[in-house]
């Protein structure tokens, strides 16, 4: 069966690739593009470890077909930092010890960014419900929620005082 030719944008760079009909966006990110920061924890959209942004919208890459990426802008965990400057969410995860094993961390960082892009001042409850699609088995979520709230506060401060 002939492969599909997909033209898309990943982390601000133009990308062309060939894929089978059944391949997911996660498959091509990991296996074709070498972007293994997005993790496969379930393959069914339940764990959020493959969270990416599609035109700024939070999606599970395992639930998007690779062909559906055509013409869209994809941002993965590898595109969150500016070069070697960490995004404030990434920095706060480090400062607050918001990770233990780290397998879920890329998904949480991407999901948290999607939240703060929309709602720069979320309540704890809003953070908890927004992140309910991301599973973490190590932390009990406490330090993750705190890191997101603190990162949000710092980003608001930065936005005001620049």
């Amino acid at each position: 069966m002939a492969k599909h030719h997909v033209t898309t944008t990943v982390n601000r760079q133009p990308v062309e690739l060939l894929c089978d009909t059944s391949e997911t966006l996660l498959d091509v990110l990991r296996d074709e593009l070498g972007l293994t920061g997005s993790k496969e924890g379930c393959g069914s959209g339940d764990c959020g470890a493959c969270s990416v942004l599609m035109d700024g919208r939070l999606v599970c890459a395992c639930l998007v077909l690779a062909v559906e990426a055509t013409g869209h802008e994809i941002t993965t965990i590898e595109g969150i930092a500016e070069g070697n400057t960490l995004h404030p969410i990434q920095q706060q995860f480090l400062e607050d010890a918001a990770l233990q094993c780290g397998i879920c961390t890329p998904g949480f960082v991407v999901a948290a960014k999607a939240l703060l892009d929309r709602n720069p001042d979320p309540t704890e409850t809003e953070v908890r419900f927004w992140l309910a699609g991301n599973l973490c088995r190590c932390t009990g979520y406490d330090k993750i929620v705190r890191a997101v709230l603190t990162a949000a506060a710092k980003m608001r401060e930065e936005a005001v005082h620049g």
């Binding site: 089978d20 059944s22 990991r30 296996d31 070498g34 972007l35 293994t36 920061g37 997005s38 993790k39 496969e40 924890g41 379930c42 393959g43 069914s44 339940d46 764990c47 470890a49 993965t76 965990i77 590898e78 969150i80 930092a81 960490l86 990434q90 995860f93 480090l94 400062e95 607050d96 010890a97 990770l99 233990q100 094993c101 780290g102 397998i103 879920c104 961390t105 890329p106 960082v109 704890e124 409850t125 953070v127 908890r128 419900f129 992140l131 309910a132 699609g133 991301n134 599973l135 973490c136 088995r137 190590c138 932390t139 009990g140 979520y141 406490d142 330090k143 993750i144 929620v145 705190r146």
Partner: protein
């Protein structure tokens, strides 16, 4: 040495450390927040192909034959293996780290031989050039099964007429030995005093049965590995596990390979909780790599993880607790029946050893049954075996408190184990901090906060031994005075940070000049796996000793440079200082200066230490939980949670708090939602995250922590293991809260809404 120990202890008391007890950013952090860290599934090698496993659709069946010819004929298929390709191993039990290991069972669990014993049991494996071809190949393998009657429940499995899984299984530990095979693999008993006399002295007795469901460790990273075998037979395995040396040993046994021909490189591990202390895919990947001549990449799906990797036992626990009217415990008795899964080896005996160990009970007895049934072979899960027995004991104590009209915290305090208390398994406790956790709970504002309608507060405690064991560490001084710290234990939750902190503390140097590295099996000497809450204690002790060895060498090098006797050199704040009366004005020699001149004073400076660490300090925790029960739906909301634990000494307090928080939430899931659900044919019905339903962020409040520090005198900084204790108290803390909120004693986990609603409605109907 004695003086040094005293000085270190004084340091603990005075809190004079530069790094120990601080919260620096972890050394591996940047890679983990940017997606660069390479986990088990992330490696890509030239020529790599995909390996996939065919699994049994039956709970129990005899394999009459396997025909792989159609699969082998498919273009793109490079190798197919079945049980026939693996050696038969003797049925003998070898000493393991925490529990004995029977490699025949490990091997038969990796791939079935004459029978399949559970839904998901591996039957064959294929290597192919693509995942699609591998899947097609699996569908072309014809297995002729003779389906046999199966048994899932532990009590059913113990019945005389139950289908027997292993024709040769004779119950161990029963006199006289049975003459007939059964599913009862073993019986172990622990006892002290005379329970009959104890119960005769009792003025009040609580006696009840409790059940807990089989639950999965639930790590987010599925099992994954890559194996490559060279033409001369040397195998290299890259995988996510809790111990590269464990993988090497287990693979050498299952494949009958020389251990020296296997090299295992630890990938980053995406959670384990005990579930990655054994092998599943690795021997299959090596066998496929041997036959295909290509590196083979294997990753389990989430369904495979649930169906075929270790959950922990579902249990049936019977508790009898006797006390005086003033609340003093006089006798305790427990009978534990634990599912082992398809092969013997449940942690029932660990339940028996731990269940009563928080308390001073003069007469106690624990009878522990290890029972096989048609479920996946259970694997270690965080304090294996302890949470279930403790759930029974701590529930009985709560009920006793209610009947005596006593505060449940005061009742625990009255009976708390302390220094000198004898355990049911023999030794007496040395320095422990259980009572201190209860005092901290009493002082915490949570304990006295008001409760609203339909709300209840539960308290429960828990104990875990913690272990030490074999660990190696090497400290290498680089040319510029920076330092590499190499250890042999996968970092599962931030242990690199604590290794670096301890090395920097001993060397008196800047933390950012210390780089921790996890070595592969060819780069560092043997280290027992990451488990038993042992790494910061035992491997940390090896790091401290290796760093102390380096300090000795640094003093000698400084003496050489100064041309004085080493006795006149002391090491302080990362530099050599001269103490010779007439030369004390010499400027100190920094680590960097000594390193720079190492070539002139004897060559590279490096210290390697291998130890068998003794003196792991037992751990105790006390948790407080508030819940609200919805009487209309049976739903339970956790409103507030506080976890308190004696941690000895927190090297990096944030990651210690994280252990308490994570363990508590796993325990909350165990108490409220999680369970393995089987259909009538013995097939797992909820082999996915959606239906298994671990706690998510919106289910929970913040998890408050209190770190009590009663230093462990056997560790240079006072460390006790902390990882496992926190999963012991939550089952009863939650159940006691729910029982008090609903006004009903809840004895069966999980306390899912249908079960709780049925209990509430049943109580209403009974008036």
């Amino acid at each position: 040495m004695g003086n040094e120990k005293e000085a270190l202890k004084a340091g603990i008391e005075q809190g004079t450390y530069k790094w120990v007890g601080t919260r620096p950013i972890r050394p591996d952090g940047a890679d983990k927040v940017t997606g660069r860290a390479a986990f088990g599934a992330d490696l890509d090698l030239p020529g790599m192909v995909t390996g996939t496993v065919l699994r049994s659709p039956h709970a129990h069946a005899r394999i009459r034959s396997i025909d792989t010819s159609a699969a082998r004929a498919l273009p793109g298929v490079l190798a197919v293996v079945t049980g026939a390709d693996f050696p038969e191993l003797p049925n003998e039990v070898a000493a393991g780290g925490e529990a004995p290991i029977n490699f025949r069972h490990i091997s038969e669990n990796v791939i079935a031989r004459a029978k399949v014993l559970y839904d998901g049991h591996a039957v064959a494996a294929v290597a192919a050039t693509s995942a699609e071809i591998a899947a097609e190949a699996l569908s072309r393998i014809k297995v002729d099964y003779e389906v046999l009657p199966h048994v899932i429940d532990v009590l059913d499995a113990m019945r005389e007429d139950a289908p027997v899984l292993h024709e040769g299984l004779i119950t161990n530990g029963v006199e006289p030995a049975p003459t007939k095979a059964s599913n009862i693999a073993g019986r172990v008993e622990f006892a002290m005093g005379d329970v009959a006399q104890g119960f005769a002295e009792a003025e009040i007795i609580i006696e009840r049965s409790y059940t807990t469901a089989a639950v999965h460790q639930g790590y987010i990273e599925p099992h994954a590995c890559v194996a490559s075998v060279t033409a001369d037979g040397a195998a290299t395995i890259w995988c996510s596990s809790q111990g590269q040396f464990m993988v090497r040993e287990f693979c050498s046994k299952v494949l009958s390979m020389d251990i020296g021909n296997i090299r295992v490189t630890p990938a980053e591990i995406g959670g384990g909780f005990g579930g990655k202390t054994t092998v599943y895919l690795e021997p299959l990947a090596v066998a496929l790599a041997q036959r295909s001549g290509r590196p083979v990449h294997m990753v389990m799906t989430r369904s495979e993880v649930f169906r075929a990797s270790g959950p922990t036992s579902g249990t049936h626990v019977h508790i009898k607790l006797g006390a005086k009217r003033d609340g003093s415990f006089v006798a305790g008795e427990m009978e534990l029946k634990y599912q082992a899964g398809a092969f013997p080896g449940s942690p029932a005996f660990l339940g028996g050893m731990t269940g009563f160990s928080c308390y001073e009970i003069p007469h106690a007895k624990a009878v522990c049954w290890d029972v096989v049934s048609n479920r996946p072979k259970c694997a270690a899960y965080r304090a294996p075996g302890a949470p279930m027995a403790s759930f029974g004991v701590e529930s009985a104590i709560d009920e006793l408190a209610q009947q005596l009209n006593m505060d449940p915290l005061e009742l625990r305090l009255k009976n708390a184990a302390k220094t000198g208390t004898r355990t049911i398994y023999g030794p007496k406790f040395l320095e422990i901090g259980y009572a201190e956790t209860l005092q901290a709970a009493k002082a915490h504002p949570h304990w006295s906060a008001p409760l609203g309608p339909n709300q209840g507060r539960g308290i429960a405690s828990g104990f875990w031994f913690n272990i030490g064991g074999q660990s190696s560490a090497a400290v290498h001084v680089n040319e510029n005075g920076s330092v590499s710290v190499v250890t042999g234990n996968p970092d599962i939750g931030g242990s690199r940070a604590s290794m670096a902190i301890m090395a920097a503390e001993v060397l008196g140097m800047d933390l950012d000049q210390v780089k921790p590295v996890i070595g592969d099996t060819g780069q560092i000497a043997y280290s027992f796996l990451t488990g038993g809450s042992r790494v910061t204690f035992a491997t940390g002790m090896a790091v401290v000793q290796a760093a102390e060895n380096v300090v000795e060498q640094l003093r000698q090098r400084a003496a050489k440079l100064w041309k004085i006797d080493v006795e006149h050199v002391i090491w302080r704040d990362g530099a050599a200082h001269c103490t010779k009366a007439d030369e004390a004005a010499r400027a100190p020699l920094s680590l960097a200066e000594i390193a720079h001149q190492a070539g002139r004073t004897g060559g590279p400076i490096s210290g390697g230490v291998s130890i068998n660490a003794a003196g792991a300090g037992p751990g105790f925790g006390t948790h407080i939980c508030d819940v609200e029960v919805d009487p209309e739906t049976g739903g339970v909301k956790v409103l507030r949670y506080t976890a308190i634990q004696d941690v000895g000494r927190a090297i990096h307090p944030s990651y210690v708090e994280g252990q308490l928080q994570g363990g508590a939430v796993q325990g909350i899931g165990w108490a409220l939602n999680e369970e393995y659900v089987y259909d009538a044919k013995g097939r797992l019905q909820n082999a996915g995250f959606l239906d298994y339903r671990m706690p998510v962020c919106s289910d929970l409040p913040m998890i408050d922590t209190v770190l009590v520090e009663v230093p462990n005198p056997a560790h240079p900084y006072g460390v006790r293991g902390v990882g496992e204790v926190p999963i012991v108290p939550p089952l009863a803390a939650v159940a006691n809260a729910v029982s008090r909120a609903a006004g009903l004693r809840m004895t069966d986990l999980p306390l899912s809404p249908p079960r709780l609603l049925a209990a509430i409605d049943g109580a209403k109907a009974a008036g």
